[in-house]
């Protein structure tokens, strides 16, 4: 069983996230980390390998130099090796371009299963996994709240608003998983030490046969024309409940015409 897990290095959501002068997400000046939602993908891949009793995991990321930290974090949880697509021309690449680059990486790798998180915690579009499936001609079972792999098939449960669905795909296939799949493991000290020795291959766009004008800010099919910081909300009135908190709240709601 060979699994590829897509991971992303994102600005820490608890830090002051910001944009550069060219309206791209600041990925260097703000502390970053492995996207929390990708930890669930790592965990599920590890569980699939553990259940199968054999296999290997390759992590793939694309991003600036510091994105290597996301690969090391994933490798410290488990898995075998990683690929880092690193090229200055990637700066400002949109979802369509990202899926192109990742598809080129996947064409170089052997895999039975590709696992991704449900979304990144920065862009949060949830489109890259299906774009990749579309480009590679892979069946996709997405937004899984459970995942099991057996007999050459992946089976997921997808919880929607109207129904809970069981979906089956024949491998090779792509799966994206939600935070409902279960807590991700913490890396052990041994895991952290071992991760330092696991191989990370770096690819440039030239290695992947992608022309620089197909990606980056110039090659993006979308553009950000304006970025405005929203003024922080002002805290309003705070009262202590002295037996009449509910009544005071009702008065406020009535003054705002909600009742």
């Amino acid at each position: 069983m060979k699994i590829v897990v897509l991971v992303k290095f994102v600005p820490d959501a608890t830090a002051a996230r910001a944009f550069g002068a060219d309206h791209t997400t600041d990925r260097v000046g703000v502390d970053g980390l492995l996207s929390e939602l990708d930890e669930y993908a790592v965990e599920q891949a590890l569980q699939v390998i553990e259940a199968a009793g054999e296999g290997e995991i390759t992590y793939v990321t694309m991003g600036p130099e510091n994105a290597g930290a996301a690969l090391r974090k994933a490798l410290s949880m488990g898995g075998d090796q990683a690929v880092h697509v690193l090229d200055d021309a990637l700066h400002g690449t949109d979802a369509l371009g990202t899926s192109l680059v990742l598809a080129k990486v996947l064409e170089k790798l052997e895999y039975d299963l590709v696992v991704a998180g449900m979304a990144s915690t920065d862009g949060g579009m949830s489109v890259v996994p299906v774009m990749l499936a579309e480009r590679l001609g892979l069946p996709a079972a997405t937004f899984a709240s459970t995942l099991s792999v057996a007999d050459g098939k992946a089976t997921i449960r997808r919880d929607g608003d109207l129904a809970s669905e069981t979906v089956e795909v024949t491998l090779p296939a792509l799966v994206s998983v939600t935070d409902q799949t279960g807590e991700a493991r913490y890396p052990s000290f041994k895991g952290i030490m071992a991760a330092k020795k696991k191989p990370v291959t770096t690819y440039t766009l030239a290695d992947l046969g992608v022309a620089p004008d197909q990606v980056g800010l110039g090659g993006a099919a979308t553009e950000v024309v304006e970025v405005t910081a929203r003024p922080p909300r002002q805290a309003g009135v705070k009262v202590n409940d002295e037996g009449d908190g509910g009544v005071k709240l009702a008065e406020f709601l009535a003054s705002q015409k909600f009742i």
Binding site: D94, S126, E134, A140, V167, E223, V239, N240, G246, L253
Partner: protein
Amino acid sequence: MSEILVLVEHDSGAVAKPTTELLTLARRIGTPAAVFLGSQADLAKASETLGRYGAEKVYAVDDPAFGECLVAPKAEALAAVAAQAAPGAVLVTASNEGREIAGRLAVKLGSGVLTDAVDLAADLTAKQSVFAGSYVVSSRVRTGTPIVAVKPNAATPEPHEVTPQQVPVTVELSDLAKAARVTRRAPKEQTGRPELTEAAIVVSGGRGTGGDFGPVEALADALGAAVGASRAATDAGWYPHAFQVGQTGKTVSPQLYVANGISGAIQHRAGMQTSKTIVAVNKDAEAPIFELADFGVVGDLFAVLPQLTEEIKKRKG
């Protein structure tokens, strides 16, 4: 004026409210044309609503794969309609399914895609609320046919009565599109409350409920509101995940958001920060939720909420 395709979201022919919002937005941009994926019987039910909100045309594709498979057949059918209609833009609802259809369509058409638009101008510039609502971004598609996934409540639906021209489209779906089979579907019990992402008022509960959502639900019903929950509450199994408000759940932007026993971690704020008015009840005076709240009560929700509910009922007579 070019056609603006609107993918219809429906449940057995009952058109979802966000679709009527998309038709309203489409009318700002060009000529609204709906794309209906489903049976003839369901189409007959949906057509009236689509016409009432200004759909000049309804492209209809029927294939059992829409129900039997996950997402991909819908994207393929929409791509086929887009190839025939050569639209000025394609609008879908920014649900999980809608975003996936938008993403797939972007690759099929070689077009740029924007997701989670909270507004869309006549020149197709989209506004998005990003980084947990701390920035507003204006963006646009510059390659191909603009594809935009729009969030619920981005516009107020405006009726504009027309009689849609029916355009049946035949699509030969690929085997690949039908590769993800739905082998079982368990319908969820419906609460009878407004849909969370569409509701004008949302009343939420968190860790402070200790698992008892009784007072939260009673207040919600007194206000005619939807019920939401923090991740702490859904992770604990106190309330179904479908009601989770936050980064990994639903993003809501109601007129009024009432947070009860919710501390206000970034994960939760990401899902509710853009609400018009925010009210909070929490025992902890230092809870970060009070930094956002227009009105906060430091107190026990099990005392405050029943009193509030009683008072609302009294005032409503």
